[in-house]
């Protein structure tokens, strides 16, 4: 696949993978391997003092993957900025997936707090990848304030509903120059392919992989979906038409021209 450049960094994989909800560290490792993802998201949480050793992310090789911490759990700009700074001290890179979701039912991102936090974080030297609703005007505002990407949602996080925001994502792709990473709600490889063939630059998938019966195989399926969609976008899709347009020649039919042969007389 052709490479993607985000904030000056060249990425060979256009499939970003989240590390939540996997049944074991081994499964997560297999999924990352099979997905060939390069950008891998993580969350920042308090250590459980009663059970401080947690093997989940020990499987993650920070030399191999670009660790993209998120600010999940933040309910406003102030909390998100605090989490971003903590995450940076731990990840030792300045990439942050900005995610501010005050409402736990739909986990929809707060546009006002997200823009506010993005302005602060960009000023402080972060590479900001904001999670947003598929709002073209907000996407443009974030681009203007210097975010590295925009990450519009396809559907609510973990909902597997697919590209419910298709038309708005199309407008974002048309109008925004920074990479568009479709994040959240993609439940099937066809959803990922659809986003990519529309011209999205990458997708981020987590739940669809983690909850699959066979997560490793599903990771391969998504990898193929992303690649198929990207290739289709680059190849240029044919325009939809209301009526048929024959694929086979409309001349030289067996029955065209001449006279029908005389009917055979029955024996």
């Amino acid at each position: 696949m052709d490479a993607l450049s985000v904030a000056g960094r060249t990425l060979r994989s256009r499939l970003f993978v989240g590390t939540g909800k996997f049944s074991s560290p081994a499964v997560m490792r297999q999924v990352l391997e099979a997905s060939q993802a390069e950008v891998v998201t993580v969350a920042l949480r308090r250590v459980d003092l009663a059970n401080p050793v947690d093997p989940t992310l020990q499987a993650l090789d920070a030399g191999r993957y670009l660790i993209l911490p998120n600010t999940s759990g933040a309910r406003d700009a102030e909390e998100a900025v605090r989490m971003a700074k903590l995450a940076r001290a731990l990840s030792r890179n300045n990439w942050i997936k900005l995610e501010i979701t005050p409402d736990p039912r739909y986990l929809l991102p707060d546009p006002i707090e997200t823009l506010k936090a993005a302005q602060i974080l960009v000023r402080e030297g972060f590479v900001v990848l904001p999670y947003i609703h598929a709002d073209p005007v907000l996407a443009k505002r974030l681009e203007e304030c210097g975010t590295a990407t925009v990450m519009p949602l396809g559907a609510p996080i973990g909902s597997n509903q697919g590209l419910r925001t298709r038309d708005s994502i199309g407008i974002i792709i048309e109008q925004v120059r920074v990479p568009v990473v479709v994040d959240a709600g993609l439940g099937a490889p066809s959803h990922a392919a659809e986003a990519m063939q529309m011209g999205a630059d990458a997708v981020l998938v987590n739940t669809a992989l983690a909850v699959a019966l066979d997560p490793e195989r599903m990771a391969r399926a998504f990898r193929c979906g992303v690649e198929a969609g990207r290739l289709a976008y680059l190849a240029g899709l044919g325009a939809p038409r209301a009526t048929a347009s024959a694929s086979s020649p409309l001349t030289g039919f067996l029955s065209s021209g001449g006279e029908d042969p005389p009917a055979k007389s029955p024996n």
């Binding site: 920042l44 003092l49 992310l57 001290a89």
Partner: protein, 66 residues
């Protein structure tokens, strides 16, 4: 002395460095970031910083997330 760690009041040995506190709590220093009274410390600072009574400490790590 008493401090607050991750929202819980906790009795710890007197005036430890961050590294000593983490050893006391059996936490691997490389896997966490520590915030003390809203000031952030990463692994390189753990030896240098000494905690005081009533400090409010957050110890965070990366977990699986999307």
């Amino acid at each position: 002395m008493q401090v607050t760690i991750n929202g819980e009041k906790k009795e710890i040995p007197d005036r430890p460095t961050v590294r000593e506190l983490l050893a006391f709590l059996e936490i691997e220093p490389e896997t966490v970031v520590v915030e003390r009274n809203r000031e952030i410390f990463s692994t390189a600072d753990f030896e240098a910083v000494r905690l005081q009574a009533d400090d409010v400490i957050e110890i965070l790590k990366f977990m699986g997330g999307g």
